[in-house]
């Protein structure tokens, strides 16, 4: 739908229905009422050079360098990348590889810093008065501060801001839905830092040149809604708080845009095409800190929860803090967890190694007990259609699943695999506990691999042709050299006929 519906024009505050969705056990009561705690500086921080989508940052420090808090240690490389800063002061003890906070357990280039415990700030970024700054200066500051989307996908915030050049934007939508169960860090941020958050939103709106800000919050966070509404008139531009229904996955950007504006983003298109940019509320707060105080993104608030955690809490931790240290700060584990996840229970990624670090996109650490993971036996599909009803994208998960298991990936793509947002609502709804979203994850990875292999094949073909051309050119050059030599010899023979007899035939040129 390219035009705003009539209803949207008449009642701009109306919320539109989003199809599908599920209502998992919220689990938010574990942490929602506790104030955010500041975790002390850990003895060791490990800062991966890639915490964002895009290209890896380039390390700027070497082993044994002394770094200060906030110092740039990784330089963004290329158009799609993000700066990395030292989260605390100390000595660099390694620039090498360390296990990534990722289910694969594979290594990632990482800078390890032994903190000196003093947490000494280096020079901060030059501050900016957003009221006097132009959009480019604000975007540059956000880029310098290494800010990425804090909702989980970790898309470089400045790169997203640049969409203002391509699309006519009119709405900045802040995502405070926090639809994942257990997670309450955005809730706490909105309650405790509403002023800074709204200020950050104003700065971003200025950079984008939009005239309207909407902060969307799920109805299950009345305190956060009240806190935000207090600053409704703090900015010169229209700001409203939209209360969206509590439903998973409300926080997916496209669905949030649908709920707030009534406009549906076409598959594989960006919300920017509808004139809307969506940022997480945490990102807005980070922008506030970067622009007003010159602080790069070196810490974040995350939820530590699950029944296997002794004291579930929301904690502000430095980027690079090992997960094990954060869990220890929250009283450690009460029981052997069935699963430790980074992120929420629906879309979070399980990790095997608790020494991996917290990164910019880590919004939660969940240690779930067996009772919470609801392990149950997988049964055959009974064609009940629950998955179809649950899917927010209008797909047919059981059919995609069947095609994937039959090895027909192209067939799965034909019925919409690439429109799947991997929310997991289908697998949650399935009464037969069929790992639907897991199959989609697999299939998408496999398709990406096939794509890249095709690309590589073209590259190698090009290389082979280049080599053949080079070899042909070399052979030709050799032939010409021989011919020239022969001609010279003949010429010499002609001028001094006596000498030629003694001369040996020319040696073959060495290959």
């Amino acid at each position: 739908m390219a035009f705003p519906s009539l209803a949207a024009l008449l009642r701009p505050s109306q919320i539109f229905a989003v199809r599908g969705g599920v209502h998992p056990e919220p689990g938010k009561h574990l942490t929602a009422e506790a104030e955010v705690l500041d975790m002390p500086v850990p003895p060791l921080v490990r800062v991966p050079l890639q915490q964002h989508s895009g290209a890896m940052a380039e390390p700027l420090v070497r082993r044994d360098d002394i770094v200060l808090k906030g110092q740039l240690i990784g330089q963004a490389r290329g158009a799609m990348s993000a700066n990395i800063h030292a989260p605390t002061s100390g000595r660099v003890i390694a620039v090498g590889h360390f296990t990534a906070p990722h289910p694969s357990n594979l290594p990632i280039p990482t800078i390890t810093i032994r903190s000196d415990g003093e947490d000494r700030w280096g020079p901060r970024l030059p501050r900016l008065r957003p009221e006097d700054a132009n959009p480019d200066e604000i975007a540059a500051q956000i880029e310098r501060a290494g800010i990425v989307g804090l909702g989980g996908a970790a898309f470089p915030a400045a790169v997203k801001l640049n969409q203002r050049r391509k699309y006519a934007l009119d709405l900045l939508l802040l995502n405070g839905a926090e639809c994942e169960p257990y997670l309450t860090c955005d809730d706490r941020l909105m309650r405790e830092h509403a002023e800074g958050l709204v200020d950050g939103a104003g700065i971003m709106a200025r950079a984008l040149g939009v005239s309207r800000i909407v902060i969307a919050v799920e109805a299950n966070k009345p305190e956060a809604i009240a806190a935000l509404r207090r600053y409704k008139h703090a900015l010169g531009i229209a700001l409203s708080v939209a209360v969206v229904p509590t439903q998973y996955p409300m926080g997916s950007a496209k669905h949030l845009v649908l709920a707030v504006t009534g406009k549906e983003t076409p598959a594989r298109a960006r919300t920017a095409e509808l004139g809307v940019l969506v940022y997480n509320v945490g990102t807005a707060h980070a922008v506030h800190l970067a622009v007003r105080y010159g602080e790069p993104l070196i810490s974040r608030i995350l939820t530590v929860s699950g029944r296997a955690i002794a004291r579930p809490a929301n904690v502000r931790v430095l980027i690079g803090t090992p997960v094990a240290d954060v869990i220890a700060f929250c009283g450690g584990l009460t029981a052997e967890p069935d699963r430790v996840l980074l992120g929420g229970p629906m879309m979070g990624l399980p990790i095997q190694n608790l020494r991996v670090p917290v990164v910019k996109g880590t919004c939660g650490i969940l240690a779930l007990s067996a009772a919470e993971t609801r392990a149950s036996a997988q049964m055959p599909c009974i064609r009940c259609g629950s998955c179809v009803q649950a899917c927010p994208c209008g797909l047919t998960p059981f059919e995609m699943n069947a095609r994937i298991h039959a090895g027909d990936l192209d067939g799965a793509v034909k019925v919409g695999l690439m429109d799947c947002i991997a929310c997991g609502a289908c697998a949650y709804a399935c009464p037969s506990s069929i790992p639907l979203v897991q199959a989609f994850d697999h299939a998408k990875g496999k398709l990406a691999e096939t794509q890249s292999r095709k690309h590589q094949q073209e590259e190698t073909r090009r290389l082979a042709i280049a080599r053949q051309a080079r070899e042909a050119a070399m052979a030709e050059a050799k032939r010409q050299a021989m011919a020239r030599r022969k001609a010279e010899m003949a010429a010499r023979k002609a001028t001094e006929p006596g000498a030629a007899v003694a001369e040996l035939p020319p040696a073959q040129a060495a290959p």
Binding site: P350, A439, L463, A466
Partner: protein, 192 residues
């Protein structure tokens, strides 16, 4: 003057047209199958198939003298693409299914054993091996097609081909088992 010029141009045009028509009429096709097959084969002329380069294999294949599974570096993708144009012959289905298990391979040089003779460098069809003479050579992983040509030539047996290592950029989830047994919602811990 004008008459001469126009006469010449008319003549030129007419003859040109005639030539064009003749080219259409008497066009000799390279067998279309051969061209199609060559387009699908990797084109790196590594020799792993035992024929004289990709063109050699394409010729043999178009005459039915080589199976569509004959190109090891191309793997399953190439075999399947070939199956579409050549058609699947008897028994090939099983061998394509067998190829599904094939992992992309790359060469790896044990640097302690490398004498820097440079023989591998000369053999590699895609210039995947780098290193100056008398120095240790290494393989550029993205350019290597795992054809084994360098393995056979190395005098000190310093080269092996092994499975292309997984990185964070090419990792993805295993296919979940369809076994009807213990399973839990959410993503279970995977293996590297």
């Amino acid at each position: 003057m004008i008459v001469a010029a126009s006469a010449m141009s008319t003549l030129g045009l007419g003859l040109g047209l005639l030539l064009g028509l003749a080219a259409r009429r008497f066009h000799v096709e390279t067998p279309p199958l051969l061209g199609e097959i060559e387009k699908i084969l990797p084109g790196t002329n590594c020799g792993a198939c035992g024929f004289a380069g990709c063109a050699g294999l394409a010729l043999a294949m178009s005459e039915g003298a080589a199976p569509i599974t004959a190109c090891p570096p191309g793997g399953r993708e190439v075999a399947l693409a070939l199956a579409e144009i050549v058609g699947i012959e008897e028994g090939a289905e099983a061998s394509i299914a067998g190829m599904a298990e094939l992992q992309p391979m790359v060469a790896f040089i044990f640097e302690d054993h490398c004498t820097g003779c440079g023989k591998c460098f000369k053999r590699c069809p895609t210039d995947a091996i780098v290193g100056a003479a008398k120095q240790i050579h290494t393989v550029v992983m993205d350019a290597c097609i795992g054809c084994d040509a360098c393995v056979d030539i190395c005098p000190t047996e310093a080269i092996v081909t092994r499975r292309k290592p997984r990185t964070l950029n090419n990792w993805y989830w295993d296919k979940p088992a369809l076994a009807f047994g213990a399973a839990a919602p959410g993503r279970s811990a995977g293996t590297a």
